[in-house]
C-alpha cells in the first residue's frame, strides 16, 4: 500500500518530531479477576500521585506504563473490584507482573457509569463517541421492565427516536438505516423485535456498546451516520456462572464458564417472550389461537491459543413470530456469526483478523384456498477484515488493513398455495462487492496536541446475476415501460462506484481538565432501505447502489469542548456538528417497492443536511450518578418531487431534546433510578382542509411536508431495586420494580384524521344505522403508567 506509506511519511514529516524522542522504560503487567483468572479489560493503572498519566488494560488485561522513580506505589482499579495497591521495585521492571483483583463484596457497578480512565474524555481523540456501560443500561428504568440497549442509547445527546416505544435510532439527522449496528464486528440488518419495540440484544450477554456518532475510525465504514459497536462478553475461566431474570413479558438465562480448561471459555445466553402464553389464557378463540413471540440465542467461545494468540467465535440467532388463527404467519430471523483472531506480535505490534456472516430473512404465510401464498426473502452480508496496528514510541500508533464485503440480496419470492389463484412472483437477485482499504495514524505531536488521521477507500461493484432496465432518455418512470433490458451473468460487472473517505481529528489539551477537539469524517453507504415510513418493518426492502441509485455520501464536521472537574467526578462537554448528506432517497406517492424489479421507478433522490449542539453533564462516581443532556438540532431533506422541491424536515427532526438520567444508591440493599425526557414533538403533516371525492370525505394536505408538530413529548420513568446483600453467596437475587411513564402523560403516537360516525370513534357499521358523519381527529397513545416487576438473579 504505497499510498499509506506516503501518507505516513508525510504525516511524520510534519508532525513526527516528537516521535523519536528518548526511549522510556516501561512496566509490563497483566490484570486478572482472582475468581476466574479472566482478564480485566479497561482496568485503570497508574502510579500514586500521577492519576492523569495512567493507562488502561487491553483485551487481554495487559498494560504498559512508563516507569517513574522507583520504588513507587502502583494502583490498579476496576469497577466492581477491590483496588490493588502494590509497591513496585526496580528489579521487577524486567518481567511481566500479574495482578489479581478481588471482586468487591458489594459490587459498585450499579453506581459507576464509566468503565474507563477518569480523565478519558479529556485526553482521548474521540469526539462524538459515547460509551454506556452495560451495568448502567441495566439500571435505567425500562419499558415492560425489559432492559434495552438501543432504547438506552436514545437517552444520549444527538440521538433521536421515531416515536413512543420504538428502538430505531436517528443519529445527528441521519435515518435509521444509516446506522451500522454490529455485534462482535458482524452487521445486524434488523436490530429489533416486535416491530421495533425491543432491540435484539440480551443485555446479560453483552460486554459493552460504543456509539460513534461523529468521528468514526477508518477501520469502520459502510453507513452514513453512525456505528453502534456491540460486543458480547467472554465467559469466565474458573467455574460455571449464571445470570438471568424473570420479567413481565420475557425471561432470560445466561451461563458462562470454562470450556476446555483454563484457556477457553464459553457464554451462552437465551431469552424468550411469553406473550403468547397469556393469549392462550383467553377464552376467546379469536385471541387464544394467535401467537406472538420472539426469542434470541447468543453465544461466544473464546480460546487462548498461546502467549500471543486468541480466537473467539461469536454467534447470535433471533426470531420473531406473529401468527393469527393458524392461518397467517409472519416471522423474521437474524443470524449473525463472526470469528475473530487477535494476535499480539509484540508489545507494539498487533494483528486482528475477522470473518463474519450476517443473514436476515422473513417469511409470510397465508393459508387460504383463494389467495393463499408463501412470501419470503433473505439478504446476507459476508465479510473479512484484517487490521494491523503498530505503536511507535508510545506517541504514534498506525493501523492499516483491508475489509472485503459481499452483499447478497435474494429474490423476493411469492409462491402461491396449491389451490391459490394468484400467480407466482420472483424478483431478480442483487449482489454487490465492496473492497475497502483503510489506514490511520494517531500521533501525539506534543503533550497538548494530538491528532488522528485516517482514510478509507471503498471500491464498489454491483455484480450479476441480475437485470438492468433502460428507459427512454435514461429517466426511470413507472408509467413508461423500459425501452430495453440487459441481463448480466453471475459476477458480471453491472455498475461501479468508488470513493475516498478521509477522517481527521485533533485534540488540544488546554489544561489537564480541559480540552478542545475537532473532527472531519466522510462515509459512503452502498446499501439502504427503500421506505418512507419512520419506523422499520420486517419486510422493508433493502436496495444496493446501482445504475440509478447512487451511494449515500455523508460529510460531517464537528467541534467539541470537554471539561472535567472535582477530580474527574464530573464531566461536561459541548459538541457542535454539521452534516451533509448526498443521494438520500425517498419514495414517490403511492410507491410499490416490494414486488418490483424496477425499484428505481419508485424512488426519489436528493440531499440532506443537519446541524446541532449537544451538551452533556455527567457524574461518574459516588452514590448518585447519571447525566443531564440537552441537544438543539435540526435535520433537513431536499428531494425533487417532494414538498415542491423545497427543504423539509423529516419526522424525527426534534429541535429541543432534554434527558435526565439519575441513579442513586440509598443503601447496600436499595437502589433507585429515574429518567426524564423532554423533546419537541415530531414533524408531521396535518390537513389544511377536506373535500369530497368518490363519496369519501378526504383530508386535504398542503404540498409542503411536515410543517406541523405533535405536542411536545415528555415522560418520566422510575425504578427501584432491592436485594439482600447479606444473603446468598451462591445465589444472589434482586427485585426490580419499574414504572414507565410515571405521571401518565398521554404522548400521542398518532393522529388519525377520519370521519367520525354517530359521534363515536369506535362506531362500526355493524352497530347500526349511521345518523351523523363529521370530520374528526382521533389520537392514539401508548403506555400510560405502565408498571412492571422483574426478578434478576446470579449464581
Amino acid at each position: 500500500m504505497p499510498f499509506l506509506r506516503v501518507l505516513t511519511l508525510v504525516y511524520l514529516f510534519f508532525f513526527g518530531t516528537q516521535a523519536y524522542s528518548q526511549a522510556v522504560k516501561t512496566l509490563n503487567g497483566q490484570v486478572m479477576d482472582v475468581s476466574n483468572s479472566g482478564p480485566l479489560i479497561g482496568a485503570s493503572v497508574f502510579w500514586e500521585g500521577y492519576t492523569s498519566q495512567g493507562t488502561i488494560t487491553d483485551l487481554d488485561g495487559r498494560f504498559q506504563l512508563s516507569v517513574i522513580s522507583l520504588p513507587a506505589k502502583l494502583i490498579i482499579s476496576y469497577v466492581g473490584f477491590e483496588r490493588s495497591i502494590r509497591v513496585i521495585h526496580e528489579r521487577e521492571t524486567d518481567k511481566l507482573l500479574k495482578f489479581y483483583l478481588k471482586p468487591e463484596e458489594l459490587s459498585l457497578q450499579e453506581v459507576i457509569i464509566q468503565e474507563r480512565r477518569p480523565d478519558e474524555q479529556i485526553k482521548n481523540l474521540e469526539i462524538g463517541k459515547a460509551s454506556v456501560p452495560i451495568e448502567t443500561i441495566k439500571n435505567i428504568p425500562a419499558l415492560f421492565g425489559e432492559v434495552d440497549l438501543l432504547r438506552s442509547l436514545q437517552l444520549l445527546p444527538g440521538v433521536q427516536t421515531a416515536g413512543e416505544g420504538t428502538t430505531g435510532l436517528f443519529v445527528r439527522g441521519g435515518s435509521a438505516d444509516q446506522n451500522l449496528v454490529q455485534l462482535d464486528g458482524a452487521p445486524v440488518y434488523n436490530a429489533s423485535h416486535f416491530f421495533g419495540v425491543f432491540s435484539v440484544f440480551n443485555p446479560d450477554a453483552l460486554k459493552k456498546v460504543d456509539l460513534y456518532k461523529g468521528n468514526m475510525p477508518s477501520q469502520f465504514g459502510g453507513r452514513a451516520s453512525s456505528l453502534i459497536d456491540v460486543s458480547l462478553r467472554e465467559g469466565g475461566r474458573d467455574k460455571i456462572h449464571g445470570e438471568g431474570g424473570i420479567g413481565s413479558i420475557s425471561s432470560r438465562l445466561t451461563l458462562d464458564g470454562p470450556l476446555f480448561g483454563k484457556n477457553s471459555s464459553f457464554i451462552l445466553s437465551a431469552r424468550r417472550t411469553y406473550a403468547d402464553l397469556f393469549l392462550k389464557l383467553s377464552s376467546d378463540p379469536n385471541i387464544n389461537n394467535n401467537k406472538l413471540n420472539f426469542h434470541d440465542l447468543s453465544g461466544k467461545f473464546s480460546f487462548v491459543l498461546g502467549e500471543k494468540d486468541k480466537l473467539s467465535l461469536s454467534t447470535y440467532q433471533g426470531s420473531d413470530f406473529l401468527g393469527l388463527d393458524n392461518q397467517f404467519g409472519l416471522g423474521w430471523t437474524n443470524w449473525v456469526s463472526s470469528v475473530n483472531w487477535n494476535r499480539v506480535n509484540s508489545e507494539s505490534s498487533f494483528f486482528d483478523l475477522q470473518a463474519y456472516h450476517s443473514r436476515y430473512k422473513y417469511r409470510v404465510d397465508f393459508e387460504d384456498r383463494e389467495n393463499g401464498f408463501l412470501w419470503k426473502n433473505a439478504l446476507s452480508e459476508s465479510g473479512i477484515k484484517a487490521n494491523w496496528t503498530r505503536i511507535f514510541k508510545k506517541s504514534t500508533t498506525i493501523n492499516w488493513g483491508t475489509h472485503h464485503q459481499l452483499y447478497s440480496f435474494a429474490p423476493i419470492d411469492l409462491i402461491p398455495a396449491p389451490e391459490s389463484a394468484i400467480s407466482p412472483i420472483a424478483t431478480q437477485s442483487v449482489q454487490g462487492v465492496l473492497l475497502n482499504l483503510f489506514g490511520g495514524i494517531a500521533h501525539e505531536i506534543s503533550p497538548q496536541l494530538s491528532t488522528e488521521a485516517g482514510i478509507r477507500w471503498g471500491v464498489y461493484q454491483q455484480v450479476g446475476k441480475g437485470v438492468q432496465y433502460l428507459y427512454p432518455d435514461g429517466i426511470p418512470d413507472r408509467n413508461i415501460d423500459p425501452s430495453d433490458s440487459v441481463s448480466f451473468g453471475t459476477l458480471e460487472k453491472m455498475k461501479f462506484y468508488q470513493g475516498l473517505e478521509p477522517r481527521l481529528a485533533f485534540r488540544y489539551l488546554i489544561n489537564p481538565e480541559f480540552s478542545v477537539k475537532a473532527a472531519f469524517n466522510r462515509n459512503f453507504q452502498y446499501a439502504q432501505i427503500a421506505t418512507n415510513s419512520s419506523a422499520g418493518l420486517p419486510i422493508d426492502r433493502w436496495i444496493l447502489a446501482g445504475r440509478y441509485v447512487r451511494p449515500v455520501r455523508s460529510d460531517q464536521i464537528s467541534l467539541g469542548l470537554f471539561h472535567n472537574f472535582d477530580q474527574n467526578r464530573w464531566e461536561v462537554s459541548l459538541e457542535g456538528y454539521y452534516k451533509d448528506l448526498r443521494n438520500v432517497i425517498d419514495l414517490r406517492n403511492g410507491a410499490q417497492v416490494l414486488f418490483t424489479d424496477r425499484v428505481e421507478t419508485e424512488i426519489l433522490s436528493g440531499n440532506g443536511w443537519s446541524y446541532g449542539t449537544e451538551f452533556l453533564l455527567r457524574k461518574n462516581t459516588g452514590k448518585t450518578t447519571g447525566w443531564l443532556a440537552y441537544t438543539w438540532s435540526r435535520a433537513w431533506r431536499q428531494i425533487e418531487g417532494i414538498s415542491r422541491n423545497q427543504p423539509y424536515n423529516p419526522r424525527f427532526d426534534r429541535p429541543h431534546d432534554v434527558t435526565l438520567v439519575l441513579n442513586h444508591e440509598f443503601s447496600a440493599s436499595w437502589t433507585a433510578g429515574l429518567t426524564f425526557l423532554y423533546t419537541t414533538g415530531q414533524a408531521v403533516s396535518f390537513p389544511v382542509g377536506s373535500y369530497v371525492v368518490d363519496n369519501q370525505i378526504v383530508p386535504l394536505y398542503s404540498d409542503f411536508r411536515n410543517t406541523n408538530r405533535f405536542p411536545d413529548y415528555h415522560r418520566m420513568d422510575a425504578s427501584i431495586t432491592w436485594k439482600n446483600p447479606d444473603k446468598g453467596r451462591k445465589w444472589r437475587g434482586s427485585w426490580n420494580f419499574s414504572v414507565y411513564n410515571l405521571y401518565g402523560r398521554k404522548n400521542p403516537f398518532a393522529y388519525e384524521f377520519r370521519t367520525i360516525f354517530n359521534n363515536d370513534i369506535n362506531f362500526s357499521f355493524s352497530d347500526g344505522e349511521v345518523v351523523s358523519a363529521r370530520p374528526g381527529v382521533v389520537m392514539t397513545y401508548l403506555f400510560t403508567f405502565l408498571p412492571s416487576l422483574t426478578y434478576n438473579f446470579q449464581f
Binding site: I422, D694, Q696, F753, Y781
Partner: protein, 278 residues
C-alpha cells in the same frame, strides 16, 4: 395484510388507547376546486361533479360549483361534447346518447372563473365476465360468516390491466374505505378466471349489483393513493400523508384541482342472494 398485522399487534400488545381530540389546524388560503369526472360507454353514468374544498372541521354541506363550462373533446376528430349542469343530480351531464367508444382518447375541459383544467384518458376495451355466483362460507381469517360472491371471467389483455369493482348492495353503494376493490396484474390475472371472490359477506335476499371498470393507469393510481390516504393513521408505520396525484392539470391559472378523470368501460351484473340456489 401487513396492515392487519400491525393493527393487531399494536392494539393487542402495546395497550394503545384512543380518544377524540381537537387540534388547531392551518387552513388553506384558497378553497380548491374538486373535479370528479366519469366518462364511460354507458350514458347514464357520464357526469362531472364539481365542488369546493373546505376547512377540515367544517361540517356544512358541500359547496357545489354550478357555473363552470364543461366539455369533452374527442381527440381524433376534435368534436366537442358539451356538459350542462343538472340541478337534480348536482352535476354536469352530456346528452344521454353521448358515450365513450373503445380506442378513442378523450380530453376533459373545465373552465371556471379565470381557471381552466384539462385531463385526458383513453377508452379501453372491457374484459369478459362469464358469470357471477354466490356461496355460503363459514367464518375465516379476515372474513366473517356469510354469503360470498365470486366473479368469473377472462382478461385477454397484456397491458392496461387496472380494474375496479364497485358493489351496490340493496341500492346502497359500499363506499367505506374497506370496501374498495382494486386490482391489477401484479399477482397475475388467473384468479379472475378461477373466480374472484369479493371480500365482503352478504345476507340472504340481498340484491347485489357489481360494476367492473377498466381504468387508465393514472386513474387507478389515484384511487390506490386515495385508499392509502384513507387508511393512513398518521403513525410511524404510515408514509407521510399526501394528496392523491390528480390526472387533471391546470392549464390556466395557478390553482390546482383536486379529484380525477376516469375513462372506462363498465360491465355490470346484478344477483339476488338466495340460499336455496346455493
Amino acid at each position: 395484510m401487513i396492515r392487519y398485522a400491525v393493527i393487531f399487534l399494536l392494539s393487542l400488545t402495546l395497550m394503545s388507547c384512543q380518544e377524540e381530540v381537537f387540534l388547531v389546524l392551518d387552513q388553506n388560503e384558497e378553497r380548491l376546486p374538486v373535479i370528479e369526472a366519469l366518462w364511460t360507454d354507458q350514458g347514464v353514468y357520464n357526469e362531472v361533479k364539481m365542488s369546493l374544498s373546505k376547512n377540515y372541521y367544517d361540517s356544512m354541506d358541500l359547496e357545489i360549483i354550478r357555473d363552470a363550462q364543461v366539455f369533452i373533446r374527442v381527440k381524433s376528430s376534435g368534436r366537442v361534447i358539451p356538459f350542462n349542469f343538472i340541478t337534480a343530480s348536482n352535476s354536469y351531464r352530456p346528452h344521454p346518447s353521448e358515450r365513450a367508444r373503445v380506442g378513442e382518447t378523450y380530453e376533459l375541459n373545465v373552465v371556471w372563473n379565470d381557471k381552466a383544467y384539462q385531463a385526458s384518458g383513453m377508452m379501453l376495451a372491457a374484459p369478459i365476465v362469464d358469470s357471477v355466483t354466490w356461496k355460503f362460507e363459514e367464518k375465516r381469517l379476515f372474513r366473517e360468516e356469510g354469503f360470498y360472491i365470486k366473479v368469473y371471467g377472462k382478461i385477454p389483455f397484456t397491458a392496461d390491466n387496472n380494474y375496479r369493482i364497485r358493489v351496490i348492495e340493496n341500492d346502497t353503494l359500499k363506499n367505506q374505505r374497506e370496501d374498495y376493490l382494486l386490482f391489477d396484474d401484479t399477482f397475475g390475472l388467473q384468479f379472475f378466471e378461477k373466480g374472484l371472490e369479493l371480500g365482503y359477506s352478504f345476507k340472504e335476499n340481498d340484491r347485489v349489483r357489481l360494476e367492473l371498470y377498466r381504468l387508465n393507469r393514472d386513474a387507478f393510481e389515484y384511487l390506490n393513493q386515495l385508499v392509502n390516504l384513507l387508511f393512513n393513521d398518521g403513525g410511524l408505520f404510515s408514509p407521510p400523508p399526501q394528496n392523491p396525484e390528480s390526472n387533471i392539470k391546470a392549464v390556466k391559472g395557478n390553482t390546482p384541482a383536486l379529484g380525477f378523470f376516469t375513462v372506462s368501460p363498465i360491465l355490470s351484473r346484478t344477483v339476488l342472494i338466495q340460499a336455496k340456489y346455493d
